[in-house]
């Protein structure tokens, strides 16, 4: 893709153009920008103002100016927030890691497949498309410790040597159960992304490696993987941003419990805002999350631009 003026850019920009031609694109962009300003920037400015007040709807006191106290509380006085950070971090690191590894493995297997590849992939992608909250409902039935199929299958297939568990109620397992649901839903996404990357690798490169006497694993580690890295990074960044916001399946599966074992940042923020009604504190937490996401989004966008410009792979 070209950056800057060149083919693909209409003459209006290239050489002066008439005034109407220069105005037209601005008119075309205006409604979209106006809508986005109204529904994103305006509410966020309002929220920014809330970050410096203490406003507890449960007490009935009017909002009180407290300066940076809310942010101080987020960073130094709220162990429950940091619990949520750790839980979310676990889901991001282990969960997205597993999605990437399993997803890449499946993509390599699919790549070797002939015509049925498209059909198999279509069916694998059903989990990706369905609503997370419905995925949560499905796993709620599967994890059911009395009537669910998981404990039954474990018991039958291992002839009783592996005991089933109360997957969502056991504090040692619940977070893994939530993660497994997310991994179930999004591993095919990584497969899809990596497969697209594989299809873009010129066949000659792999043939050349073979002619030079490279073994299968050598070809994979030295040729295929480095060429796949950009799409894998893009896929992981998308997954990072989504997992960072993880809410729906937590709500449906555990409600953050037992205790706060499965409480993600998004879920805890929801509790503070819509169950405890601490409006000022919730706003401060919201801005901390916005800051993190903005940084990651910038990395994603710049990486994507460099990739399109052909500077990576």
């Amino acid at each position: 893709m070209n950056i800057g003026v060149g083919p693909g850019v209409l003459p209006a920009r290239r050489a002066g153009g008439t005034r109407r031609m220069r105005l037209a694109p601005i008119v075309m962009i205006f409604p979209a920008v106006a809508v986005l300003l109204a529904i994103t920037v305006f509410p966020l400015l309002y929220e920014l103002r809330l970050t410096v007040v203490s406003w507890e709807l449960t007490t009935g006191f009017p909002p009180q100016f407290v300066g940076p106290a809310n942010f101080v509380r987020v960073f130094t006085q709220d162990p429950r927030f940091w619990n949520a950070v750790i839980k979310t971090g676990f889901l991001v690191v282990v969960g997205v890691g597993l999605q990437t590894i399993i997803g890449t493995g499946l993509a390599l297997e699919l790549y070797g497949l002939g015509r049925v590849r498209t059909t198999v992939l279509s069916f694998l992608l059903i989990p990706v498309m369905i609503a997370p909250v419905i995925a949560g409902f499905q796993f709620r039935m599967i994890y059911n410790d009395q009537f669910g199929p998981l404990n039954y299958l474990l018991d039958t297939l291992t002839h009783g040597t592996v005991r089933g568990a109360a997957w969502l109620a056991d504090p040692r397992i619940a977070l893994w159960a939530v993660m497994a649901t997310d991994v179930w839903q999004w591993t095919p996404f990584m497969t899809l992304v990596v497969l697209a990357g594989l299809q873009a690798i010129p066949g000659e490169l792999l043939e050349a490696a073979e002619v030079d006497g490279a073994t299968g694993p050598q070809t994979f580690w030295r040729v295929t993987l480095p060429l796949l890295l950009p799409v894998i990074v893009i896929g992981m960044l998308v997954r990072f941003m989504d997992t960072f916001k993880l809410f729906d399946i937590v709500y449906q599966l555990t409600g953050g419990g037992p205790g706060s074992v499965t409480e993600t940042i998004a879920y805890y923020t929801y509790l503070q805002g819509f169950k405890f009604f601490s409006l000022g504190y919730t706003s401060a937490m919201a801005f901390v999350q916005l800051a993190v996401i903005t940084v990651v989004a910038q990395i994603f966008l710049r990486y994507q631009r460099r990739m399109r410009a052909g500077m990576i792979a």
Partner: protein, 279 residues
């Protein structure tokens, strides 16, 4: 390509077969549950495939509590909100995408800002939106959810369509402009028809994102508006859980998703990576 031995192919078949079972089992379980009687659901060892495939649970699900409309209301509300947000986003987003693609209006910073709003954590926008909607008496209306979903869908539509326009050679539009067509005319009569498939794909994606959306629907609705994604968890939280009926609502709720997964495969990678990987 390396020659594949028979053992190799067998291994591939086994791995992919296992993957298909793993990734489809939960969906199949919900499907089968939607036909089970209560006795079949509450039995051990569990019943995998129900005796009868009567539509009893589906008919009951349409008349679920609290007000006896349950599933039907969910279908109606999810459709209205998803279609409404989709229409707004395509109408407002398509011209903007064109201007970004062809004129780089506002430069890189503006288009980056537009896309970065897509990444916002919904929980961060939820509180101020809630207060604004309450002030405007919009809580529990379709409009509130259409607006809220537009926050994420509009940037998505703009960004994806921008990619489709950029893929189009500009010569045709240049010729039209030189022949005296206005810029808007070149967009509407030349570029737009050529990217029509891209517009359809983008619109369908935005439809599904709203269809799947949960948090805003949870926070901004109560009784008058209840999307399918709200009905399922609210019934699971109830006293007497009607698993068969809820599963029936769940099956109805994933019909459009399954159709699109099977139909849109060629465009999925593009849509799900915000155009970063074109496939």
């Amino acid at each position: 390509m390396r020659k594949r031995t028979r053992g190799h192919r067998l291994r591939t078949a086994l791995i992919l077969g296992a993957a298909l079972v793993f990734f489809l089992f939960p969906v199949a379980w919900m499907f089968f549950t939607s036909f089970k009687t209560n006795a079949e659901y509450f039995s051990y060892p569990p019943v995998f495939i129900p005796k009868s495939f009567a539509l009893t649970n589906y008919l009951n699900a349409m008349r679920l509590p609290p007000d006896g409309r349950g599933g039907l209301q969910g279908v109606r509300d999810s459709l209205i909100i998803s279609a409404g947000s989709m229409a707004i986003c395509v109408l407002v987003g398509a011209p903007a995408a064109y201007a970004f693609a062809r004129f780089r209006t506002g430069g890189e910073n503006l288009s980056f800002w537009v896309l970065s709003t897509r990444m916002f954590p919904p929980v961060a926008s939820a509180l101020p939106l809630f207060l604004v909607f309450r002030f405007l008496h919009l809580l529990d209306t379709h409009l509130a959810l259409i607006i809220a979903n537009t926050i994420f869908n509009l940037p998505f539509v703009i960004w994806l369509l921008k990619g489709f326009f950029e893929d189009l050679p500009a010569e045709l539009e240049e010729a039209a402009v030189i022949d005296g067509t206005t810029v808007f005319g070149a967009f509407r009569r030349v570029a737009l028809p050529l990217v029509a498939p891209g517009v359809v794909v983008t619109a369908l994606f935005s439809f599904i994102f709203t269809w799947n959306e949960f948090m805003f629907a949870l926070l901004f609705t109560r009784r008058d508006v209840r999307t399918l994604t709200i009905i399922v968890p609210s019934l699971v939280g109830g006293h007497e859980i009607l698993w068969g009926e809820i599963a029936a609502v769940g099956v109805v709720a994933i019909i459009p998703n399954v159709i699109l997964a099977l139909m849109l495969q060629r465009f999925l990678v593009r849509g799900l990576t915000l155009g970063a990987v074109k496939g």
